[in-house]
Structures are given as C-alpha cells and as structure tokens.
C-alpha cells in the first residue's frame, strides 16, 4: 500500500505542471506523453502487483477455500462446508487461545504506548546526544520479534536466570517465570512493552510538529507544565496516538515468534502462552489439520478487521485533527 501511495503522491506535482504545458501544446502531444508515462507507471508498479497477486491474494483466496475443507497437507482437500467453523465454537483450546491473545493485546499494547510516549516526551527536551538515545531505545524494536531475543528472554526469566539472580540480592527467592502458568504470559507482555522504540520514534516526530508558540502562549498565561501537557500536547498528539494504536494492535494480534520460542513451540506451560497464531500453527503443521487452521486464519482476519473498525469508529470521539 505505502509504495503505491508514495508513487501516486510523487506523481501529483509533475502532473500538474505537465497538464499546464499540455494545454498549450494541444491534445495530440498530451496523449503521446501520457502513453510514455503509462508505460513507465505500469512497469514500476508491476513488481508490486505481482507481489500482491502471487504472494498475498492467491494464498488468501486459497486459504478461504481450504477453510471449508478437510485438508491434511499431504492429500487433496475434501469439501466439508461450514464444519471447521462449527468446530471452532466448541473448541475449548481455541477459546482459551483467544483469551490469552486478547489479554496480551489489551494489556501490553496500552502499556507499550504509554512507555513510548513517556520516553518520547523526555527525549523531546532537546538532549544533546538525542540521536544516540533515540537509536538505543529504538534497538529493541528491531530485535524484539527475533528468535535470538526470545531465547535470551527464556534465559533471563528462567529458574537460574538474571531476574532471579537479581531478586536473590534482596533475599527474595524467585522461580522459573517463563515456566509458571501464572507468570509466563506476563514475561511476554514485558517483552512487548520493551519494544516501545518504534512507536516512540513516531511520537517524537509528532511532538516536533507541535508549534512552539502554543507552549509560549500558554506559559505566558501561567499554565503549569501538567496543564500544558494535558491541553496542548495530548490533544495535538491524538492522531499520532491513534496511528500507533492501530498499528500496534494489529501487530500484537499476530504475535507468534516470542511465544513459540519461549515455550519451545508448545504454548505452555499448560497453554498459558498459547497465542491464537501459535494454536493455528499447531493445528496446521503439527496436527495436519490445515483446513481448520485456514478457518482459524479467517476468524483472526475478521477479529482484527473488527477491532480496527471499532478503533476507527471510536476515533471520532477522541482524535483531534486540528484545523
């Protein structure tokens, strides 16, 4: 999408200029010039279109078909109608995985955004080595989804891990945090919050957009720092908050790597880290139940689309786009 928008955005200005010239030169040269343009546009757009159809749209349609079949990966699928969808309603493990995923998303995303905003405000004060700080805080976002960090996490929160060593200093006897069903999901939430760098960078850019004059005027009127944050920063930042919220929400619903690596692919202990995507993967590739897994994928799509729609509807009431 973004590549397309960029292209069309880039083209807008030259187009206008050309239209002016073309008006002077008459119809014939206009269509000739456009032909050349068209060819170039089609050429440059082709890779994206091929990607869309072959890599995205094709499998999408295929999975929709497979979701109505019994398909074990190795043999041809058999049409079973709505059976997979009906099965989902009574699948307790699926309902559990929805619960796990929703609590992960609804707890860790707001915390992550709060951390990102807080840090962005601190960094926005014109620190001298801002670029360095920004990079340092951004780093976890690059690494957070990686297998290496997930393995590191498992060690840090393990029975003999760093966290317990630290607690030991204060005489607190820790336990295996990733291997206890009450805490394992919590460690994954902490991991997600830790990757606040990406939204933070966007917040920073947003903060820079707020005109300094607003703050000066408010300061002259005697507004306190808290008041300035509440009445100037926050309202003007709501579009950015909204953008980050939508993006992180969609991303969090699809989290997979962390849970897969930390739990060794099991979603354990006792299904406490069984993300929806992980269960989908297990059904599809572990239990040879790809028809069911495809149906699950479509349910996830509907859920994410629904959450995003709710987000956009709700945005009318709290997002302030200024003038």
């Amino acid at each position: 999408m973004s590549a397309l928008q960029e292209l069309s955005g880039l083209r807008r200005e030259p187009d206008r200029g050309r239209r002016g010239r073309q008006a002077r030169h008459g119809r014939q040269s206009r269509s000739a010039a456009q032909k050349g343009d068209n060819r170039a546009a089609a050429f440059f757009l082709a890779p994206w279109f091929i990607g869309l159809f072959v890599i995205t749209a094709g499998p999408l349609v295929a999975s929709l078909y497979l979701s109505f079949t019994d398909y074990n990966l190795l043999q041809d699928p058999n049409w079973t109608g709505w059976e997979n969808y009906a099965r989902m309603l009574t699948d307790e493990r699926l309902l559990n995985s929805l619960g796990v995923t929703f609590s992960y998303v609804l707890i860790s995303v707001p915390l992550q955004l709060a951390a990102a905003l807080l840090l962005a405000i601190v960094l926005d004060r014109g620190l001298r080595a801002l670029a360095i700080y920004r990079s340092v805080f951004y780093l976890p976002s690059l690494l957070g989804g990686s297998v290496a960090i997930a393995i590191l996490w498992r060690q840090v929160f393990g029975t003999n891990g760093l966290v317990n060593a630290f607690l030991g200093i204060f005489g607190v006897e820790g336990q295996g945090w990733v291997s206890h069903p009450d805490y394992a999901l919590g460690t994954l939430m902490v991991l997600n919050v830790w990757t606040f760098g990406a939204p933070m960078v966007i917040f920073l850019a947003g903060l820079r957009q707020i005109p300094e004059t607003y703050y000066e005027a408010a300061a002259i009127d005697g507004a306190s720092r808290a008041r300035r944050f509440r009445s100037i920063t926050l309202p003007l930042l709501t579009p950015i908050i909204f953008f980050n919220l939508v993006l992180q929400l969609i991303g969090a619903f699809q989290s997979f790597t962390q849970a897969f690596v930390v739990s060794g692919g099991t979603g354990g202990p006792a299904d406490s880290t069984m993300f929806y995507t992980l269960y989908l993967y297990q059904r599809g590739f572990g239990a040879f139940d790809m028809g069911y897994a495809s149906a699950m994928a479509w349910l996830l799509l509907v859920i994410i689309a629904g959450m995003t729609a709710v987000n956009f509807l709700a945005s009318k009431y709290w997002v302030f786009y200024g003038d």
Binding site: A46, I50, F53, T159, G176, S179, H180, G264, G268, P269
Partner: protein, 450 residues
C-alpha cells in the same frame, strides 16, 4: 488512490493489467517447472544417478554429536559414490516434525527423511513416503532383523528401514544413590510404589536441587504403566484407544504424588525442562536426578553430559501379572520421500547407512543397536566401548521380557505426547484434578485419532 481510478478510465489500467498478467503467467510457469521433476519420480531416478551428478537431501533430528558422526559417514558415502552429493540438515527433536510437515506440504521435503514412533504411519498412509519395494534393487532389507523391520511395515508396504533397535528403561545415576545412602533397586522385583519410595528417600537425603527422579510423565511411560495395570497400553491392535479416564487419572495421581513427596522437582522446573530436550539440559545430564526414564540409545549422551557412570535398569512393574509390555523397536526409521527425484541415490544412501561397516564404524549405536546381524558382529569384533557394551547387554536382557503387548499408535496419535504434557502441567500446577485431566486426555486423544 484517486490516480489509479483515473488511470483505469484512460486505458492505463489495461496495459498495467497486461504487464501484471504476463508476470503472473511467468511466475506460474516457473512454479510448474519446479514441480515437474517431482511429479514423475520414477522416470529420471534411474538415469540421473548414472548419467550425471545428483544432489539429495538427508534430514534427521538430534544434537551436535550426532550431526558430526553422521556428516562423517555421509562424506564416506559421497567418496564411494562420486555422482551423488548429499546435503544434510538437522534440528532438535521439538522442531523437527513441525518443520517436516511444512516442507512436505510445500513439496520441498528432503529425499531421505528420518522418522520415529507413529510418524511413518502418519506420512505413509497419506502417500508421502516411497514404497521401498520399488527401490529394493539398491536397498537390501533382507539383512535386517524381521522384528525391527516390521516397525516400518504397515498398510502392506515397507515404508521405513530401522536405524537400529532400541529399548526403554530407567537410566540410573549410582553416585547419587550412594550419596543418599540408598541401595540400588532390584530390577527383577521393583514396583511402581518402590520407584516412588526410592525417589522420595533420595530427594530427602540429598542437598536441595537434587532429586530422586525427573518427572516420569511421557507417552512411553504412560503406555507401560497402563499395560502393567490393565494388560493393554494406550492403544489396542485395531488402532482404538484403550486408556480409560480412571486409569489415566491414576497415573496423574501417581505423578503429582511424586512431586508432592519431593521425589520429583517442583512444577516450574518440570515445565521448564519440557522445552529443553537435549540430554545436556536434563536433570540426569546435569547430575541432579538419580533416576529418569529414557531410551537406551541415549545412554551415551547422558553419560557424556553428566560425566557419571550411568546404568540402565528395566522399568518398574515389568514382572507383574500383566507382563512387561516392553518393546525393542526401531525408535527411528529411514524413509524416502515419495516425491524424490532421485529414488536410486536416496536408496543407496539408506543402504549405506544400515548395511555398511564403514557407516557403522562412525555412527555406532547412536541411532540404536544396528538391526543388521553382520553389522552387530562387526561392532562387537571391533571391541565395544564400555557405554555401548552396557547398551548391548541391556538390550539382550530386555529382549527376554518382550511379550508383544506393545502397540504402535494409529494415525493422529502423534498428538498424544503434547496433550499429555499439557495436562500433566495443569495437574502439577494444581489447575485441574487428576480425575478431570484423565477424562480430558481420553476425550482429546480420541478426537485426535478419529
């Protein structure tokens, strides 16, 4: 977006569509070509090995040590078969079968695939494995023990070749028994109660962090326990589930009782260990458990990891009225991908691995005691390493107790291990009762195998 709409009206779109269409056709053509050789495996297999260089892929699960000796053996094979290049790939057991399913579905599976347990049946019955009868010219199975060979024979087809025979037992660390002042059990009479009592006593007499036993819950142990209790294991011959809610609940009561008495570690440690399957990470390998159930071919790895003279004993309860239900089987089988482009080369590699002394010299008993009589004799002549000798002796000892009660699980039964692990965690963490877990196990496994 507006620009696109506009362009479609002026005819830009048609040309764009043409370009896209051409791209699609090209891409599809490329796909078609990629699949071509796979579609007709029989045709060029015979000629390619003779005619030119072929490359085949060989996959297995295991640790670095296994990889080192297997790769050495493959090098020897390549030297003896100049036209064949073998690419090897291995991952740890937890990831192996997930990865395999993905590659098979994508038509990108290795040519020679290592399998185990009920997996050959899962894949064979779904048409993913080559009937080895088709390549018998290059792969001699007449040399192998009939018993082990039967583990790769089902649906009237020989799908797999045993890598070697294996059996199951209790791996014991005598040093911890000694430190705890506890006598070693008598394997000819010990019962499941004795196992629990011994483990609790050892835990009590040793420093914190050392345990009498690692948590024993696994599909193998449950199968034996059920057999000793009821005369049948998890499954019956006809592929149906024999385990009842009550019997499985009894196992969960037994297992959680071990934890409560301190005989086995707390739930968090047991749960942590389920994600760490290598011998080095196990309690036994770390020298922190006196007893642990395990496969006989892992003895060497456990010995290396712990640095202790570990020994093998027959499982408790195997002299009871219902018999031992012990088995001696190919815990691993070499199978060949039905879609392979080079069945001859793949068959030659498997033949080399199970029938040649050169391979045996390198691989030894890492994948079980070889099922080929000649190879066994060869290894014995060479003088066995002490660990291997222990394994050989244990295998021949257990062979006297094999009563044929053991049944390999039906299609879908590979899920039972995961179900058991999860329910066991729920019981150990007190999230559910043994009774509910027993009922859930039966319900879920029934659904998996139906």
């Amino acid at each position: 977006m507006r620009n696109i709409g506009h362009s479609a009206r002026t005819g830009r779109g048609r040309r764009a569509a043409a370009v896209v269409g051409a791209g699609l056709v090209l891409a599809l053509a490329a796909c078609g070509q990629g699949e071509d050789p796979a579609a007709e495996p029989g045709d060029d297999g015979g000629t390619s090995a003779d005619g030119g260089d072929v490359t085949i892929r060989f996959a297995w699960w295991g640790n670095e040590d296994r990889a080192a000796i297997t790769n050495e053996a493959v090098d020897v094979f390549e030297a003896a078969n100049p036209g064949i290049t073998v690419e090897t790939e291995y991952v740890d057991f937890n990831a192996y079968f997930d990865r395999l399913a993905t590659t098979v579905a994508a038509g990108d599976a290795p040519d020679v695939i290592t399998m185990g347990g009920a997996y050959p049946r899962e894949y064979g019955d779904r048409g993913a494995l080559l009937d080895l009868g088709e390549v018998s010219e290059f792969l001699d199975t007449s040399t192998l023990d009939a018993g082990a060979l039967s583990n790769g024979f089902f649906s009237d087809t020989q799908y797999g070749v045993p890598t070697g025979a294996n059996t199951y037992g209790v791996v014991i660390n005598p040093a911890i028994f000694e430190a705890a002042g506890v006598d070693l059990p008598d394997q000819d009479s010990w019962t499941w109660e004795d196992f629990a009592d011994l483990a609790a006593e050892i835990s009590a007499n040793t420093p914190d962090g050392t345990y009498g036993a690692a948590d024993p819950t696994s599909a193998e142990v449950l199968d034996l326990y059920l057999n000793h209790r009821s005369g049948h294991g998890l499954y019956l011959e006809d592929g149906s589930l024999n385990a009842t809610p009550d019997l499985v609940a009894d196992w969960f009561t037994y297992g959680s009782g071990l934890m409560e008495s301190g005989a086995t570690p707390p739930a968090t440690i047991t749960s942590e260990l389920t994600t760490q399957t290598s011998p080095e990470q196990s309690l036994l390998g770390q020298g922190l458990a006196a007893m642990s159930f395990g496969w006989s071919n892992n003895l060497g790895a456990f010995r290396d990891a712990s640095g202790q003279e570990l020994i093998l004993m027959r499982v408790p309860g195997d002299t009871g009225e219902n018999g031992s239900a012990m088995w001696q089987q190919a815990s691993q089988l070499y199978t060949i991908n039905a879609q392979t482009a080079h069945p001859e080369a793949a068959a030659r590699l498997v033949d080399f691995l199970v029938n040649s002394t050169e391979a045996a010299d390198l691989i030894g008993t890492d994948r079980g005691v070889p099922s080929n009589e000649t190879i066994r004799a060869h290894l014995s002549e060479q003088g066995l390493e002490p660990t291997t000798q222990v394994e050989f002796d244990f295998l021949s000892q257990v062979s006297e107790f094999i009563d044929g009660d053991f049944v390999i699980g039906p299609t879908g039964s590979t899920e039972s291990a995961g179900i058991l692990t999860r329910l066991n965690q729920e019981v150990l963490f007190g999230q559910t009762t043994p009774e509910d877990a027993g009922a859930a196990f039966v319900t879920e496994v029934t659904a998996a195998i139906s």
